[in-house]
Amino acid sequence: MNKTLTIAQWELRRGLKSKAFIVSVFMPFIVLLISVVPSILAFSGDIEAKDIGIVDQGNGIYEEVAQHLNKQIATDEGEGIYSIQEYQTTSDNHDTLIQTLIKDNIASIVIVIQPDFMHKAEINIYHNDDVGLEEISELKSTMRQYSMEKRIVALGLTKEDMDYVLERPDVTVYEIGQSGDAVKSNLIVRYGVPGVFLWLLVMGIVMSSSMLISGVIEERSNRILEIMMSSIKPNQLMMGKILGIGMLGVIQITIYLVIILIFSLYGGAMLNIDLSPADVFTPNILWYFLYFIMGYFMYAALYVSLGSLFDNEREAQQSVGYLSLFAVLPIMLIQPIMMNPGTPLTGILSFIPLTTPFMMILKIGMLSAPLWEILLMMLYLVVWIAAISWAGSKIFRTTLLMYGKRATLKEIIQWIRA
């Protein structure tokens, strides 16, 4: 046991000092920032001043539409952003005039209000390529609102009547779980937190895979293993490595928890959402924590076992890297699972050991998995981790002194059975 702990300690120290580990800890947040920030920036830009043309085809509402636009799309001081100009077209020059207005930069946007607007409510919007999706969407909703207000008035009602009709009911969702108590549904607790843990586990595994493999490859290609095997047994070596690398996972998730705690304290105010540490740090977080560690241990055992089959890192990454696809699978399926968590897919994936930790995180969060299932699946994972480590040590012992020859699946099975 002492030697196993010595190896674990060495692996842990080596891992903590490696750049790959530091990158793997922060990469999930960097990836998240890279994917979220640009879209936030893209959709939060202010609408810039533009020349807008309005062609009213005989409805006599140009003035009203212009006023409505100036009121709805305005600066903080309440001044209309657009410089609006009316244009008249005939059936002969309609298309060419609009094309000219846009092409010659006389107007960036031309809104054409089709004849018989009160009945048909048809509007065409033409724009040049400087106008983005967000601005178009804003214009569309402004014109939709104008159309509704116009019709409400035409029916003899007031704007207040319209607001009354359109007022959305305040819906509160309660969930009655195994305990039978009705608990107010919190989307952040139910979907957000397990989703974040799932993401962190996937990223943790994918990012650490190269570090896990390269450790074994270094020992093999530098023939360090031969010296090690003269002092210790292969199973001690395997257990030590898995334990050491698994401890890296524990440190990683602890760092994540601290980051999540900081985010839950200050992130709500920053992003203007209802979020508090009490929402995030529910009893479920203990299970997420444990499943994260077990998932990390299992992939560590797999990568260490299979890494010993290869002489160089490139070959190993190409072959073993496919395993990471299993880790990514739940991310790809997260949307259908979130839409319908009770589907058989969730059950099937939770029994495939490579996806069990991910699916259990989702099941605990979204389906309120019962305690017996949580504990049973944990035992199931422990058995798998032990089995992978045992098979790994068998492979390890055989491949230790085998260089330049790639093992076939048949050979690997033979070694495990031996």
Partner: protein
């Protein structure tokens, strides 16, 4: 000290070691010679229980090698390699701990060997920053950090300059004086002549000569080089 009784080992049907028997007493420096591919490294790996013989037995101090205390054996394999990014001191201490040497003891012994092999200034450098010869010294230290009673040195002089070869030879002499047993596998016949009390020459997995080094030399005109060429050449024909 070491008794090898009729061991054989085959890889994919080819016999690498074929019925080898040896009895090496305590305090002897034993030369283990043979051309490339003769089965030397396979035999040494079997002694270290890294691979197991297909048949035959190996006993160390009367105990089967599979269950004996390997922490009292020093092993310098022919194929060298240590963690390149780690510090020299850390690597030596790590292997010392793996060989069950107490933490305080391992530090003391490491310092002794650093200074004896004249690399004390390099102890806190990364292995990758050391020359090949100095890395070799680090590996030698790893082999002796557990204060072994039986040492297996596979090509220990390779990569060392004459000065360092002399230092290593002096260490071997000291070990012999302390009644430690050493198996020395090398292609440098002069080193065997100088250091080994007895020796064997294996070829194609079989022992082709075994005895006192002096006797074998006398039989072949006073030179082991000659003995090697004659015996191995004879077998090849």
């Amino acid at each position: 000290m070491l008794k090898i009784d009729n061991i054989s080992k085959a890889f994919t049907g080819i016999k690498a070691v074929d019925n080898i028997s040896l009895d090496i007493p305590v305090g002897e420096v034993f030369g283990f010679l043979g051309p490339n591919g003769a089965g030397k490294t396979t035999t040494l790996r079997m002694i270290m229980d890294i691979i197991q013989p297909d048949s035959g037995t190996i006993t160390i101090d009367g105990k089967p090698s599979t269950s004996c205390d390997h922490t009292r054996i020093g092993y310098l394999p022919e194929e060298r390699g240590i963690y390149q990014k780690a510090k020299v001191r850390d690597v030596v201490e790590y292997f010392g701990k793996l060989k069950s040497v107490h933490v305080s003891e391992v530090k003391e012994r490491a310092n002794y060997w650093f200074s004896r092999l004249k690399i004390q200034d390099l102890a806190d450098k990364k292995v990758a920053e050391l020359s090949k010869g100095n890395q070799q010294k680090v590996q030698f230290i790893i082999a002796v950090i557990n204060d072994p009673v039986l040492m297996i040195l596979d090509e220990p002089f390779t990569g060392l300059d004459p000065v360092n070869q002399k230092i290593l030879q002096d260490i071997i002499k000291d070990f012999k004086a302390q009644d430690r047993t050493i198996i020395l596998s090398t292609h440098q016949m002069a080193k065997v002549e100088e250091n080994c009390d007895s020796m064997c020459l294996i070829h194609k997995g079989k022992i082709i000569t075994l005895g006192k080094t002096k006797d074998i030399m006398e039989k072949h005109g006073g030179s082991l080089d000659k003995a090697f060429i004659e015996l191995v050449g004879d077998t090849d024909e």
